[in-house]
Amino acid sequence: MTTITSRKRRAIMVYVADRPGVLNKISMLIRRKMYNVESITACAARQSGYSRISLTLHEDNNDNLQQVILQIEKMTEVISARELDINESFWREVALVKFEASQIQFEQFNKKYSFETLDQQNHGVHIVQLAGISKMIDDFLLDLGDDKIIEVARSGFTALDR
């Protein structure tokens, strides 16, 4: 089950007790189930002692996804795991992009994507920050074109439901 991007993207949200190795355990399980984790992000939950992990993978079959969720839930440290309904949740990503462009081009891009400029010290080299849905970031990178991009750092998804 290598990532075939035609498969549906699914997001799983997991609340875990902060104990060493939990993230490792979850990613090991997903590897064992032969998925490529597309993205996995973790942050402290509002309640201290707990973390919130969101991960995405590609799977069409509901039973298979349910199986992954149940096996994650089985871990002692996992408080709960569930799928985030794509239509009922917000998924956002942050990208930091370093690229080369003339000042005119730069302003055109900025108008279209309204990114935050982080650095322009280097002549003609810009570092900007985009936050939003992945498609917007994808579009920007496509628009920019490989010849202008120097480096891209993307955070991976983080998600929240209604």
């Binding site: 355990k25 399980l29 039973d63």
Partner: protein, 576 residues
């Protein structure tokens, strides 16, 4: 108090009486403390894998007693811990609660490739129910208590605690307090739901009443939750035949009129035919392993499935259920057994059909057993197992290794005693029997224990004869020597045109080996010697070994070819 003292205190508080293990640099402080305090009987295995299987033996055999125990094994860091891995992976596959304590290099040098350092937690993580590395002496006691709780609560499994050497010898301040008696685990995320939902039970009862040809599948969970009595009561009341998984065997006497014997790859004809024609599977404490189901696409198509299972992640994993009851098998069976709404249906057609299946190869097999020898004129394992049943009346405890002899025991031994059948199922680890029998005997000293091994598996942990000798463990070792890795040879015969790649064994003089360990020994070559040898072994005080010269051509049948469906079951080799 010192870390080592806290380790011992926590083990004592958890009722530990035996510790199995092997010493080395990083575990020396704990061993030293054990020698000082002498609160446990320490059994030194001759290889750490042996210690893990001995611990398993304690846990498996004591499940059904008034005092269930969690077996404990210990090893040093690096190679010691790595030698435990197979026994721990095996315990996970078979849901056996054990606790392994490993010494680790000092926390100050962890991750520097220190002498005998390996990443134990990293290795054990996917092979255990939980693993820990306490990083302060104050964590030790609570960690051990939590480990016991996790290991034995719900579906059992192994837990590993890797304790750095400096933490073992740390001392804790006066203010440290841990109240073992009042301990309650703080495990917000641990899911354990033994109580069944009563509305689901109602639904299940209606479905059972409606069914014309139901079958009960009795799994390891029935044995593990001590539900044999309730299973029997329920099956009799509802009048439903029972098929057993490998580890479900010995939940109730296997010659019960409703018993169909084992299901699956080497199951009985009647059990597998019943699976093929049933309209309702009522399964308790089992996980529809591929050795049970064969090809999943052809298993239980359009059949209703009631699945009672304590581990929610097993439900709907392989087989779609109609009614999923995530609960303890015993609690559900207790409710079902006394549910007034259950009808006692005659199901005459179904039982008549089952009798036909029962008769399908009965006479052929009976004749073989009577003949006692195979194509090459040497002993048949099924004859030996039948005679063993006669001698023990099916009452003794049987520990089996892995291979043909194991499947033949499962098929032909007349299990009478609750929880009397111990072997490696999920992992199928050759070499398990000799060390496991040590734990089984220590857990149930009043009962007679037989360790039945093939010539291959016997040599995988043959060194444990040393522990048997040293601790005068009274196990009767039956060595079924067919000169081959028989089970693999069987596959080669059936599916690899009879090319015996890597299966013939040039064996040592087993009598001389038994002699070297001061274990009395007998060799049996003809059918007429079987009974007397078994009787001598049974009557002997102390370990005894009987070697049987077995026929390499014996094939375990029936057989559902791997990946095939139950309908493809090969019943006899001369069938087409």
């Amino acid at each position: 108090m010192k870390g080592t003292e806290l380790v011992l205190k926590a083990l004592v508080d958890n009722g530990v009486t035996y510790v199995f293990g092997y010493t080395g640099g990083a575990i020396m402080p704990i061993f030293d403390e054990m020698e000082k305090q002498k609160v446990f009987t320490f059994v030194m295995s001759r290889h750490e894998q042996g210690a893990a299987f001995m611990a398993q033996g304690i846990s498996r055999a004591s499940l059904s007693t008034a005092k269930p125990m969690v077996g404990v094994c210990m090893a040093t860091s690096g190679p010691g811990a790595m030698n435990l891995v197979t026994g721990i992976a095996d315990a996970l596959m078979d849901s056996v609660p054990i606790l392994a304590i490993t010494g680790q290099v000092a926390s100050t040098v962890i991750a520097t490739d220190a002498f005998q350092e390996s990443d134990v937690v990293g290795v054990m993580m996917p092979l255990t129910k939980q693993c820990y590395m306490p990083l302060s002496v104050e964590e030790i006691e609570e960690t051990i208590h939590e480990a016991f709780y996790i290991s034995k609560t719900g579906r059992g499994g192994p837990v590993v605690i890797d304790i750095p050497k400096d933490i073992q010898i740390q001392t804790t301040a006066q203010t440290y307090q841990f109240n073992a008696a009042k301990y309650e685990p703080d495990l917000h995320g641990f899911k354990y739901s033994p109580e069944p939902d009563s509305t689901l039970i109602k639904k299940a009862v209606a479905m059972i009443n409606k069914s014309e040809c139901p079958i009960i599948l009795c799994g390891h969970g029935v044995v593990a939750s001590n539900a044999g009595r309730n299973l029997k009561a329920f099956a009799e009341k509802a009048h439903v035949p029972i098929g057993f998984t490998l580890h479900g065997l010995s939940a109730i006497p296997v010659d019960h009129p409703l018993s169909l014997g084992m299901v699956g790859m080497h199951g009985s004809v009647e059990a597998n035919r019943a699976l093929q024609h049933t309209d309702l599977m009522i399964s308790f404490g089992m996980r529809f392993d591929d050795r049970v189901t064969g090809d999943l696409k052809q298993f239980g198509v359009d059949v209703d499935v009631i699945h009672v299972e304590i581990d929610p992640s097993e439900i709907n994993k392989n087989v779609k259920t109609s009614i999923a009851i995530n609960a303890d098998a015993n609690r559900v069976l207790k409710l079902l057994a006394k549910d007034p709404e259950i009808n006692t249906k005659p199901r005459r057609l179904w039982f008549e059909q089952l009798d036909v299946y029962r008769g399908e190869i009965f006479e052929e097999v009976q004749k073989e057993i009577e003949k006692g020898v195979g194509q090459e004129g040497q002993l048949l394992m099924k004859t030996i197992v039948k005679r063993l049943s006669d001698v023990t009346e099916g009452k003794d405890l049987i520990v089996s290794d892995v291979g043909q002899h194991q499947m033949i025991l499962a098929r032909f031994y007349n299990f009478q005693t609750t929880n009397s059948w111990f072997n490696s199922g999920g992992a199928g680890t050759m070499g398990c029997a000799l060390p496991m029998s040590v734990g089984v005997k220590l857990a149930r000293p009043e009962e007679r224990v037989w360790a039945v091994c093939g010539d291959g598996g016997f040599q995988m942990n043959i060194q444990e004869l040393g522990s048997i000798m040293e601790h005068e463990i009274d196990v009767k070792i039956l060595l079924l020597n067919n000169g081959y890795l028989g089970m693999v040879r069987q596959w080669q015969t059936m599916f690899y045109s009879g090319r015996f790649a890597g299966t013939p064994l040039k064996n040592p003089n087993f009598g001389a080996i038994a002699g070297a360990y001061s274990i009395p020994y007998q060799r049996v070559e003809t059918p007429d010697q079987i009974m007397a040898a078994l009787e001598t072994a049974a009557a002997h005080q102390g370990a005894y070994m009987v070697e049987f010269l077995c026929d390499p051509s014996e094939i375990v049948l029936p057989m559902v070819p791997a990946g095939g469906s139950i309908a493809d079951m090969i019943v006899s080799l001369n069938q087409e």
